[in-house]
């Protein structure tokens, strides 16, 4: 009997946010996490016939993401900065047990983004939605590159405080 790809797609979409958050946490790099996310997706699909229907897809996917990230790090060029094995393992262990928190952070972030002043929302929109480089943003906002980095840090700090406050209120 064949494997239903739509079932895989549904499961993957439902849990991709957690997988991505997990990979960003253990690798410390969003761009690298997206690379490994691609590889993880392919591995999950090729091994999907080993997945037991009804069991915990998220846990299985996170375990696969861990192995894929570990292989990726072993093969990675020495020239790039990277976490030590100890940090990778510590973050992986912690993130694997708390991957559901990614959903809570995501929901809280939605409310926090709405509360941002318009100017700060524009900064986030340019950096993430438009994928603008800091250099391009500097030109766009008529600021120095350093000033854009500072603004991004300030807005991220405000968002993190807001997320923490909302989650603390719910706990």
């Amino acid at each position: 009997m064949g494997i239903d790809p739509s079932e895989f797609v549904k499961l993957f979409i439902r849990h991709e946010r957690r997988i991505l958050a997990y990979l960003v946490t253990v690798l410390g790099s969003a761009s690298e996490a997206e690379d490994v996310m691609q590889q993880t997706c392919v591995v999950l699909w090729t091994k999907f016939d080993e997945f037991e229907a009804g069991s915990d897809f998220a846990a299985w996917a996170i375990r696969t993401a861990y192995l894929t990230a570990r292989n990726h790090l072993r093969a990675k060029s020495r020239s790039r900065v990277r976490f030590s094995q100890a940090m990778f393992e510590a973050a992986a262990e912690r993130a694997a047990t708390r991957h559901a928190e990614a959903d809570a952070v995501h929901d809280a972030l939605g409310a926090c983004l709405e509360k941002l002043p318009a100017e700060d929302r524009e900064i986030i929109r340019h950096r993430y939605e438009l994928d603008a480089s800091v250099q391009a943003m500097a030109g766009q906002f008529n600021k120095s590159v350093h000033a854009v980095y500072r603004a991004l840090a300030r807005v991220h700090g405000a968002l993190l405080r807001c997320v923490n406050t909302r989650l603390a209120a719910e706990e």
Binding site: R74, M87, H106
Partner: protein, 464 residues
């Protein structure tokens, strides 16, 4: 559970550097020291990373493309449930697509692998041989194991080849004579199952495709497009939100994944998909005889460096400042244009001259490089050239100066060594860079350009 204000501020500052991929190894080590020593710091780290992942996911968007890439339309209820709470409601359509392109590419492969699993397997699995392995080239098997590619490596169906860094390249040779060349930071997955399927995750590919069996074109998928090839030569560059195609022989059909729009691209034509509403096929003129970049309107897409608007040469509105980068075991400060394999920057003539108007706050000598490919972008040969003659550098601190260098004074790299051999006439430059080794010399370039004609010797002129 609490972290002191001071440690909290330091950690957040370091995490910002990490997020922007600007952290040094020392700073990464400091993050580790803080996070591993304190549970509260680990908590902050986890929250911060989950938040930035969510920002990318929320605003760039992964959901939706998965189903379109696989070609299975989920019913609305299932899709809604799958997208989950907090799915973006107002995502701009093209951005929605662009953000999920990597996943689309991965699941484009999933679709290919699916057909591989459910269909009849060929009697003997086709292997692809690798040749002209240069620089950092890796093979990643379909179970995720990565290893360096040796000079006589082969790739099995489902495997991925990755070239890492400027100057890395490899040629993939199919048994029917089809050749695919990868250059710089590029990555492809190849599947053969009665027909050839290639997923270009990112980067540059130059293809010489032998005639394919009727009804079984080679299918090449980029993050944004699907291309059907029966037998042709073309060059292709793909990134998350842009695909650039030039056809030098034959004809290909290109379909944009986001809206199903299809164009036929014939010999001598090209097309760029970058989120514009309508894709337009244009005449592929190729690299010109001259070239100029003055940064007056900001940094061109893909240019390495920081745009600056202060402390400029007279009358100028913008310039580019060198930024920090790792190159092998060295830290360099560099500004560069690297993404013109397909269209080319300029062709090499016996009277071509490169001019650079620049200043340095802490003067030292500079390394000027350019890389060339064959006149035809589908020709997978390339070469690197350098000019770093000490007497012409440096200027006085902060002094604007224009240096003119005949291209014939550059030295060509062959067999790993820069030799006293000039560039080959007729080749096309596809990248140019100017750099200095650490420490930061405060290099700013106001304009860089290539002309036909010039003094025939290196000249330096101080600007008023």
């Amino acid at each position: 559970m609490a972290l002191s204000d001071e440690s909290n501020a330091e950690l957040l500052e370091l995490l910002e550097l990490l997020r922007e991929e600007r952290a040094t190894q020392e700073q990464v080590g400091r993050i580790e020291a803080i996070v591993l020593a304190d549970a509260a710091a680990m908590h902050i780290y986890m929250r911060y990373m989950a938040m930035t992942a969510s920002l990318r996911h929320r605003l760039q968007g992964l959901p939706g493309l998965v189903e379109s890439a696989v070609g299975h339309r989920l019913d609305e209820g299932a899709a809604k449930g799958a997208a989950g709470v907090g799915a973006v409601q107002n995502r701009r359509p093209w951005r929605w697509v662009a953000g999920g392109l990597a996943m689309a590419a991965a699941l484009g492969l999933v679709a290919v692998l699916w057909s591989n699993r459910s269909g009849p397997r060929p009697a003997a699995e086709t292997t692809i041989s690798l040749s002209q392995v240069t620089g950092d080239v890796r093979i990643i098997t379909d179970d995720g194991v990565s290893q360096p590619a040796g000079p006589a490596a082969t790739l099995r169906s489902g495997g991925t080849v990755k070239t890492i860094g400027a100057g890395s390249s490899v040629v993939l040779n199919y048994e029917d004579g089809t050749r695919l060349a990868l250059v710089n930071d590029s990555s492809v997955t190849c599947v053969t199952n009665g027909r050839k399927s290639v997923v270009l995750h990112e980067g540059i590919i130059s293809a010489q495709v032998a005639p394919q069996p009727a009804g079984k074109p080679l299918i090449l998928t980029t993050p944004a497009t699907k291309i059907e090839v029966l037998g042709t030569q073309f060059a292709l560059a793909a990134s998350m939100d842009r695909t650039e195609l030039n056809v030098s022989q034959g004809r290909v059909r290109l379909t944009r994944v986001s809206d199903g729009q299809t164009v036929e691209v014939a010999q001598g034509q090209g097309v760029v998909t970058n989120g514009e509403a309508t894709m337009t096929v244009h005449e592929a003129a190729g690299a010109g005889e001259t070239w100029s970049q003055d940064f007056e309107a900001g940094l061109p897409k893909g240019w390495v460096g920081a745009f600056v608007t202060e402390g400029l040469a007279g009358g100028s509105k913008g310039a580019v400042q060198a930024v920090r980068e790792t190159s092998g075991d060295h830290i360099i400060y560099i500004t560069a244009s690297r993404h013109h394999w397909v269209d080319g920057l300029f062709t090499i003539h016996d009277d071509s001259h490169l001019h650079i108007t620049f200043k340095m706050q802490r003067p030292d000598w500079l390394n000027v490089f350019f890389s060339t490919r064959g006149a035809d972008a589908t020709n997978p040969t390339w070469a690197l050239h350098i000019f770093n003659e000490v007497p012409y550098w440096p200027p006085k601190p902060g002094e604007w100066r224009t240096v003119t260098i005949p291209l014939s004074k550059f030295r060509r790299k062959r067999d790993g060594v820069f030799r006293n051999e000039p560039p080959v006439l007729g080749e096309a430059a596809y990248s140019v860079s100017v750099s200095a080794v650490e420490p930061d010399r405060g290099l700013v370039i106001d304009r860089i350009w290539v002309t036909r004609g010039g003094p025939g010797a290196v000249k330096a002129e101080v600007l008023p």
